[in-house]
Subunit: 495 residues, 2 copies
């Protein structure tokens, strides 16, 4: 096992640099003043370079070859397999490209933070073109190495094993019922007028409510924080998980649902198997599985009438709304299950959300495969928003193609994970309910222990021991089945 | 110049890792939750190891030898000299010791954060012994390399060129007049009863006042932040300076003076010569010179009646004290020039402060030279507090030998810089006044432009181009002269 052990040491060592990168990334988004950016981008590029050098040390080739001949336990075999997968992915890119990507991404993302509010597509476009050029170069190199097409090679970074072919199949299936369903739900909700509680809701109180709900959801504050950033995210490391949100003075639900969403990501990270810390096999399985945890918390749990019976009194207390019918569980639940055709993906309800994802999927696939250029994005965006959601985004870049952070640093291939996550989450909830028959009652009473124990055992503690299909099958008894998602929407919105 | 240029590239490269270390260090103290510490300490140790490896690359030896033969400008010569000095210091320690120091320091510092409030000397002692053992090992190695004694070798890290002999001379001189002066000032102030404005002073307002005063003092918020930590400090990098303070609900002056102090450090950092960024010659000259800037801001400037005419109205507005005689400039000035024998160095007035420093100097010198052991610290501390300030700290570790962060990570040799800084600051103020005859009137009117221009040109923009004696002589017309400090105290407290 000499070489297997050397590989373990190697991955634990590079993981320390990943730790550093994660905390600095959080700092850039949540703490760093604007003038710090140039020198920081340089420092981050240097770190990326060192990480790349360490991850591609020539002796690793021999270690892997020798380890493959060693006598290993099943667990060690699983670990070795993941190490090899990660190593292959990082070997492919030349150091020059890794550094250029890091610099261009940091520059584009940083400028985006002021360009987006200024609706400055012209300024953004220039940086984005640079990012796209490098992403295409990356995709071409990765595709050549694995024999798949360019966009598939990018998907593989976030959802290993997923392909354009499979995504097309799933998304085409969704398209057969989604447009009709959106129309039917909106028609049905037309007669209900839902008046949201009136703000302003002071940020300090919104933050307190967020912390209260994180506590209810089991977030471990000795190993994490809640802060503010332009685009909410979950970052940091399992021992120190940093989640962020953004506050809207007039609407407390937006930040709150964001906090619950990120808390789902956070609990997954905080409960990964400690014994495997720092190893690829000990990490979260994939972006889709990660998103299934955030959407399990936000969609399956938090937007249910049962959970709202816990949430509503907390919100009423923080904002002085006790006794106010607008703060009743039923009413708040009606607010957060309102379906509307809107511009902003992160504000979208769970029924229209897949339309936002499919739109981005189609654009970024064409962009990476070289079928379209950056200049065409706004027009395509507008056309697809018209087609899928009947909305006009012409000229409104900040609520259109500039709304997301993902493309700014070249994370093409990520978006499909959101809708895969929604499907995995619906499937997991159905499975949990089948083994926990009193689940909905427990949720209504704030007794979440059994549910979290199920998630912990079925998903969190499994790390990357199994492939996504195996993990989902072991947890739910069957591979990915989009029908659970359709049934969930049907049950919540059309029952 | 081929080799000189290679050295420039090398130092700019390693500086990026120093950048990372600085931001992570700030995060550890100001942001990180307690559970994050172990993994973070590991990650920091890995970073320290990489930095050490890079700083001690064998080819640097040849680069320096070859660069010494190259035709260089005066500026390049100065730069090369500083690079060589820094290189020699980092070459001396074996990688094993660098990593062990980083780990032990992080462990001791982190535990100290809860041990101090718990007055847990027994727990702290165990970690500190480990830190001291490693510091002694470090001192022995450095001393052997330079032929000086062990404690001198540690001083050299913070105040290059300073020696135990010179410190003894200066501190013995101070001892000839300080005890008498303390007694006389306290006697003289006995008749004045100074009633401080009554709190509570909400933290959000204290923070607002701090930000207002930082703005008045020219802090560049596009390249820096203000946060909270157990022990206030100035960290980060010149493009992103992170200062911290701690708030006392019952006394707004404590945090405010801390903010002003750190703002002095911050302005030095923010105004170092940009063209020399990332090079040793572009960094702040020494800890003593750094402290001279913070004490220039806090002592020379902020505690003067003139500056208080700007500060008092700001404080009155923030806390609703307009018209209240307790918020008058004269009264607030009396509050912040009150001399008292106290336990806490960071809360000490400028008259008793040197006694705190001399006490620590004598203990840490004995500790590093092996004349005493960690177990003897509390007894020695108590004895010297009795001798110098007439105070009993027996059993009160948290306000005694556990009050400072410096020893927790092995920064022995640092303390003398504080009193050297106070002396440099008094000397600089006297020099500035001699060329700016209307200075005190300008300060009273909040016109600080001429003064900051003088500091910028005399100190900040000089980086490490000159040695400390040269820098001080060029700025003030003479080398270190403790008489300016005595005259300053005499003028403020006994005029």
């Amino acid at each position: 096992m000499q070489h297997y052990k050397r590989l373990v040491d190697h991955f634990r060592k590079t993981h320390k640099l990943e730790h550093i990168r994660a905390i600095l990334g959080w700092d850039q988004a949540a703490m760093m003043p604007s003038g710090g950016n140039l020198a920081r981008a340089d420092a981050m590029a240097e770190l990326a370079l060192i990480l790349h050098e360490q991850s591609t040390r020539p002796e690793l080739d021999d270690f892997f070859a020798a380890a493959a001949e060693e006598e290993l336990s099943t667990a060690e075999h699983q670990s070795l397999k993941e190490m090899h997968r990660v190593w292959q992915q990082s070997m492919v890119l030349p150091a020059r490209l890794v550094e250029a990507k890091s610099l261009a991404g940091a520059k584009c993302e940083h400028a985006w933070r002021s360009q987006r509010p200024a609706n400055d597509w012209t300024g953004f476009k220039k940086n984005l073109k640079e990012v796209v050029e490098l992403a295409r170069e990356e995709a071409a190199i990765r595709a050549a190495a694995t024999g798949c097409n360019r966009y598939d090679a990018m998907i593989d970074l976030y959802e290993p094993g997923m392909t354009t072919r499979e995504l097309d199949r799933v998304f085409e299936e969704v398209k057969t019922w989604l447009p009709d369903m959106i129309g039917t739900v909106i028609e049905r909700q037309r007669s209900q007028t839902v008046q949201r509680p009136q703000g302003p809701f002071p940020i300090t109180r919104q933050k307190q409510l967020g912390l209260d709900v994180m506590a209810l959801l089991g977030f471990d504050f000795s190993r994490g924080r809640l802060d503010v950033s332009a685009h909410p995210f979950c970052g940091g490391v399992p021992t120190d998980v940093r989640i962020t949100t953004r506050y809207d003075l007039g609407d407390f639900m937006s930040a709150l649902m964001g906090v619950i969403h990120e808390t789902g990501h956070a609990r997954y990270e905080q409960n990964l198997p400690e014994a495997l810390a720092g190893l690829p096999v000990g990490q979260a399985r994939s972006m889709g599985v990660h998103e299934s945890q955030s959407l399990f918390f936000e969609m399956q749990l938090a937007r249910s009438l049962e959970f709202m019976q816990q949430l509503a009194p907390l919100a009423a207390r923080v904002f002085g709304g006790e006794g106010d019918p607008l703060f009743s569980a039923e009413h708040l639940c009606a607010c957060v299950t309102r379906v509307e055709r809107g511009f902003i993906r992160v504000d979208a309800d769970e029924v229209t959300y897949p339309a936002h994802v499919i739109l981005r999927y189609e654009i970024e696939r064409a962009l990476i495969n070289g079928d379209i250029e950056v200049e065409q994005i706004p027009e395509l965006w507008n056309q697809k928003m018209q087609d899928y959601l009947g909305l006009d985004t012409g000229g409104n870049y900040k609520d259109g193609c500039m709304q997301d952070i993902h493309w700014t640093d070249g994370s093409f291939g990520y978006f499909p994970s959101y809708t895969l996550g929604a499907m995995y989450a619906a499937q997991q909830f159905a499975a949990a309910e089948s083994v926990l028959p009193g689940l909905k009652q427990q949720i209504a009473e704030g007794e979440l222990g059994d549910l979290f124990a199920w998630l912990n055992q079925s998903i969190w503690q499994q790390g990357s021991i199994y492939s996504t299909p195996e993990l989902i099958t072991r947890a739910t008894g069957e591979p990915l089945n989009a029908e659970h998602f359709r049934k969930h929407l049907q049950g919540r919105y059309l029952a």
